[in-house]
Symmetry: C2
Subunit: 405 residues, 2 copies
């Protein structure tokens, strides 16, 4: 382990500061936080589960558990992942303290200082933060509306002198880009990786949050594709389908990778909270997840529809975006000559925040995008927020025209 | 970060296997596990707390929180640690996923592959496992009934070519040795460290578990001693005073150390479970801890007294030990010519398990001790367990006499 360096990025602390300023009572309209809205959590369901636990199981909530996870939860997860087509019998599940811990463990398992990790550009900022903390060199590949750009990936691979340790992707309802990979793109990606020795780290936090049942098939994980000669580690999370406060995630991988990961987990926090695992297990085992997901999907669809409608109505015409098919995010494309940081400076004056584009660029530069999250947004605030945002964009556009001859 | 090595020790997995064999229904009498007994957890109190939470606070249980911890819990911890005399205003609290995570974070903050960490011998096996995983070179110093051996520490320091990064100690009701440092020894230790640049990592998981109110003063943390020129990081845990299943611990340190630790925590699991922090905070804020500790102390005292009584009654005369003044453990000293692994092999045949001495030696060799934990032991099983253990010891003693001329 290389002792921690002061150079660790401040990207995430920016997000946290935003949240804190929200929490401190300023009346912000926030498109920033990538978390569920407090009013959507299954509080009643967990109340019922907790109060129906037997005395013996309650006692177990307080106790240590195995490092790999609470066995009944592992059993329930097997069923759940099996329904997604994942090869649960040929692989092993490690329960983690959030899926970010899984990403952190995998990084610690494979990456030495200076080793290369491939990411998408844009990329989930939490993962970037982990990769940087552990001293990885990040090489990023752009994505379009169908997924990672295959041609650029190929030329990147050809140009690198060292084989990257893994490629990190979030193919389903991408954070921040909002897109879902096409099946064709998933297949092409697997073909490119085949035989290279580059592990695919498939982070799938959002796949249950499709808006349209008929598009569910698009969420099929690449780990279920039976690709040849590609090692795939699949990670998932309870943060978006139960609550981030549980700090529960998991990874599904081959035995060798699992065993080393389990040892690292042992040296990080010994085991995941039994209390949280027991509640989550009952949520799955009592079949409370699927009805809750139906509710969530309709809530998020409604918020997405409102945001889509008001963006169309108010936002200047030269701003474009892909309408998302699921997940939490709309990823606005700005005209090249303006940047989201300037817009942020304007919009926050009027109480509207979002996350700037460069936050998700591994080099913290590319700033012609901005992320709007609709997951945590009260429906009645969406139009007001969009109007303020639109005014901020117009102001910045106007200023850019004055500056440019 | 140095990629994870296969060489990671198997010490902890030994412990876990023991627990698992217990859990799998074999009727073992276990002096092995260093955890509270399931029947002692404050289930009723947490029930009451949970069911009295407001709807808004319940929703917050499901949500992300700040990386440093849930602010009301930090406030409650300040009060709690202030009562221990700790300098809470000049330092910062980081809430962690168990105190093992705090130890892991501190190791990652300070230790590069090959750096030296000083430990006691014997040493808490969970910490050893962390230090080894992160590639530290461990140098250990023996302890006696009053604490770390000062003269050996001094000569060790004189002999080392590189300054150790920190000294890790568990001064109060040591795991496995059961002893508590004398105040004199604590003062001497601080004098030795003063000005050396070696950080003192003071792990204090057991200090609330004294048996006798009149001896409470002995538990005073070294971090409260106002020592000159010694940087002290203090770690604590809810595992022994609420339940390990909560995975809640914390560290108290200076601002610089805190800030880097917070960034590392961010890259390990983003934040600690709000759900668990909120329940723990109410446990402190509603003053439920002190009455519960009174109950725990009397329960553990009773178990210790029974174990002490039956050891005196049954165990061969050449086995010695210090009677503990608190905590979970009795640490038997065997005659030099026998070892605890042989005794274990005998006793497990009759269904009695404990943890062997060498488990706690950084070099996994010194095996003339064994750890008996009374914390997880049903009172009615203690005498039977001691009788079986005594027979196993006698058998091994007998065999050693036959072998030796």
């Amino acid at each position: 382990m290389v002792a921690f360096s002061n150079a660790v990025n401040s990207r995430h602390s920016e997000d946290i500061k935003l949240l804190m300023s929200q929490a401190s009572g300023k009346r912000l309209i926030s498109f920033a936080g990538g978390m569920p809205n407090n009013d959507l959590f299954p509080v009643k369901q967990i109340d019922d589960i907790y109060n129906a636990l037997s005395e013996d199981i309650k006692k177990l909530c307080f106790q240590y558990g195995p490092t790999s996870g609470y066995p009944p939860l592992i059993h329930s997860l097997k069923n759940y992942l099996n329904h997604k087509g994942l090869p649960v019998n040929e692989n092993h599940i490690l329960v983690t303290t959030g899926s970010l811990q899984a990403i952190s463990i995998i990084t610690q398992e494979f990456v030495n200082e200076g080793d290369i990790i491939l990411t998408e550009n844009p990329c989930f900022v939490g993962a970037l933060s982990v990769f940087e903390t552990f001293g990885a060199t990040i090489e990023s590949i752009p994505i379009d509306h169908e997924g990672i750009h295959i041609k650029t990936l190929k030329s990147k691979l050809a140009s690198l002198k060292k084989t990257p340790k893994f490629l990190y992707v979030t193919p389903n309802y991408h954070n921040p880009a909002g897109i879902i990979y096409s099946q064709k793109r998933k297949t092409e990606l697997l073909e490119v990786l085949s035989g290279t020795g580059i592990i695919l780290l498939e982070d799938d936090a959002y796949s249950d949050l499709y808006f349209n049942e008929s598009e569910k098939y698009l969420t099929k994980p690449m780990k279920s594709f039976e690709a040849k000669d590609v090692e795939i580690i699949y990670t998932g999370s309870f943060s978006k389908i139960l609550g981030p406060g549980f700090r529960l995630g998991y990874m599904l991988s081959s035995k060798d990778i699992f065993e080393k990961a389990e040892s690292i987990k042992q040296a990080l926090d010994a085991c995941t909270s039994n209390f949280m695992q027991i509640l989550a297990n009952e949520f799955l085992a009592q079949h409370k997840l699927e009805p809750y997901l139906k509710f969530l999907r309709s809530e998020y669809l409604e918020r997405k529809n409102l945001l889509q409608k008001y963006l169309k109505k108010h936002i200047p015409a030269d701003i474009t975006w892909e309408e998302p098919k699921g997940g939490f995010y709309i990823w606005l494309q700005l005209p090249e000559h303006i940047n989201s940081t300037d817009i942020f400076k304007e919009s926050i004056k009027k109480g509207v925040v979002f996350v700037t584009g460069k936050t998700f660029d591994p080099k913290s530069k590319k700033d012609d995008r901005l992320r709007l999250s609709f997951s945590n947004m009260p429906k009645e605030s969406i139009e007001k927020g969009v109007i303020i945002l639109s005014e901020a964009i117009k102001k910045v556009l106007q200023a850019s025209k004055i500056v440019r001859p």
